[in-house]
């Protein structure tokens, strides 16, 4: 029986995790990769596919960006012939793990017993084939590109470089400190056989890399890849007898207090991450000091900076000092960070890779990259700009 006050009455637990082949330009289809990750996650939980009665994913259908979605819920359900009592997909949710949070609610309320949650990308292959058509197709910009594209700001690198540079201006964050995020990721990726970039990187390599959009150099930006990630979120009672110790979802961060924009937040040195983190801590008696490992979104290095302060590991504006030199965030440091190499070196699995890695570490399956002291509480946080969601996972019963 769970302790009083645990979110979802402690009924939402993770029982399995799986990842497909991950790489650059694999040339494999998005659905094929998704099926691979799904079947691995189901097997990891010790379940048969017939036991999966819920499916959830981000972003769902209708997203035109090439390779942004490798498969929809419908495509995977149809492919595997899943009998579902509940299913969903969403993009207007708490970041790329929003559907995982939906799954927690579904199992806690009894709508499903075992929910397969997945995120699938094949941007590397898709962009190789089709990227040019997006920018020089002669059509006009719509949606999120309409306000920025006319000024040549067609990448999130541009949109996030602006607040990053303002943060550096206001608080003295340096490029060397940002570099500590990238170098930490690369060092951990070197210990992860599935990571995309594993060659060691020095601070000199980092500082000499070509600039993309000041203050971001090449190594501040994550790497598009092909790959799919899946986890199984189960109702605690249904997890009895499964091979792995269930991981309890202690809290979730879903807050969004302002308009969802890249440029109009009242304080442009903060992001939606701060709202998500606020709600995460409001829903638990646990505190930042209780966290053993942190898997924090690094689509750009600066987003990890944002999550570190949003989640209360550092004071607002003080992240630079915390990450300087990289000792505190290393595998043997006080807060091991992005232990699989993150998206910067591991590949842009787009959020769900962080949830997968938290499970791997809590189950002690990290191999060469396993943190030295067995972790009991993991913080997972994904998204940047107006996109944010967070989760606290524990190994306690």
């Amino acid at each position: 029986m769970s302790e009083p006050g645990v979110l979802f009455d402690g009924k939402a637990v993770l029982t399995g995790a799986g990842k497909s082949q991950v790489g650059r330009r694999l040339g494999r289809g998005g659905l094929e990769l998704t099926i691979e990750a799904a079947l691995r996650a189901i097997a990891d939980a010790g379940l048969d596919p017939s036991a999966i009665d819920g499916v959830a994913s981000y972003p769902g259908p209708g997203v035109p960006d090439p390779g942004f979605s490798g498969a929809t819920v419908t495509e995977l359900r149809n492919a595997l012939g899943l009998r579902s009592t509940w299913f969903t997909s969403s993009m207007e949710t708490a970041g790329q793990i929003g559907p995982a949070i939906d799954a927690c609610m579904a199992v806690a309320t009894g709508l499903a017993e075992h929910v397969l949650v997945f995120r699938s990308v094949w941007e590397s292959t898709a962009q190789t084939a089709g990227r040019a058509s997006v920018l020089v197709g002669g059509g006009r910009l719509t949606g999120h590109l309409e306000p920025f594209g006319p000024f040549g700001a067609v990448s999130a690198a541009n949109w996030l470089a602006m607040p990053a540079q303002r943060y550096m201006h206001d608080f003295g964050l340096t490029r060397e400190q940002l570099g500590a995020i990238a170098i930490n990721a690369r060092r951990n990726a070197g210990l992860n056989p599935d990571a995309v970039y594993r060659t060691p990187m020095t601070m000199e390599d980092y500082l000499e890399a070509r600039m993309i959009s000041d203050p971001f150099c090449l190594y501040d930006c994550d790497v598009p890849c092909d790959g799919a990630t899946a986890v199984i979120i189960s109702r605690r009672e249904a997890a009895a007898g499964l091979p792995k110790p269930p991981l309890t979802v202690e809290s979730v961060g879903t807050g969004m207090f302002e308009r969802a924009t890249w440029d109009q937040r009242a304080d442009i040195t903060t992001m939606a991450a701060h709202d998500a983190a606020t709600t995460l801590w409001e829903r638990t008696a646990l505190r930042p000091a209780d966290v053993d490992i942190a898997q924090l979104y690094d689509g750009f290095s600066f987003l990890t900076v944002q999550w570190l302060e949003a989640l209360g590991f550092c004071e607002h504006g003080k992240v630079g000092e915390f990450i300087e030199g990289g000792h505190r965030i290393a595998l043997d440091g006080e807060l091991p960070l992005n232990t699989s190499g993150g998206q910067l070196s591991g590949g842009r699995l787009h959020g769900m890779g962080f949830l997968h890695e938290a499970c791997v570490q809590l189950w002690g399956e990290g191999g060469d990259r396993q943190v030295r002291k067995p972790p009991e509480l993991a913080a997972v946080a994904v998204g940047g700009g107006p996109v944010a969601g967070a989760m606290l996972l524990s190994r306690r019963d």
Partner: protein
């Protein structure tokens, strides 16, 4: 160089702005058409709530602060300051070569209203947070893009 006492010294260095061969153009919506076409009359049009009288951007069908639906575009002075910026160095768009400055401009009328645009006519490396800028317009077909350059009197010629 004329400067008032409260105007910070700028180290901005003038350079000639060269119009790029290509710009990607927006698809105006009911709420963004005024922003993209106000330059036809030399006006930067920003949404304002006629109930609480505050400005907001991007335009919408209601005031996000007071929820009034009595809202619409009105001209602003076109003056503001650089709130945040980046020098883009990556060639994303054939015919629009880097480097160029992308910036959030906070409007003189209300600093928490920001317009994303380019700051041009100034050496990218000499742009700084707080730089005073003013709008001008560049026509592309049926679109008048609001661009910004250092305000008169703040730049070293």
């Amino acid at each position: 160089m004329e400067q008032t006492d409260d105007r910070p010294q700028s180290s901005a260095v003038a350079v000639e702005y060269v119009r790029p061969e290509v710009r990607l153009l927006p698809t105006p919506t009911a709420e963004t058409e005024a922003f993209w076409t106000g330059g036809r009359d030399g006006r930067l049009l920003i949404y304002r709530c006629r109930s609480c009288e505050r400005w907001f951007h991007p335009g919408s069908a209601a005031c996000f602060r007071c929820r009034s639906i009595d809202v619409g575009p009105e001209p602003v002075s076109g003056r503001g300051r650089v709130a945040a910026f980046t020098i883009n160095r990556q060639p994303w768009i054939p015919g629009f070569p880097p480097p160029y400055v992308v910036a959030m401009i906070e409007l003189a009328e209300q600093p928490d209203v920001r317009v994303v645009s380019n700051v041009v006519g100034v050496a990218p490396e000499s742009v700084s947070v707080g730089l005073e800028v003013e709008v001008f317009f560049e026509q592309w077909e049926d679109i008048w893009l609001p661009l910004f350059r250092p305000a008169a009197g703040v730049i070293d010629e």
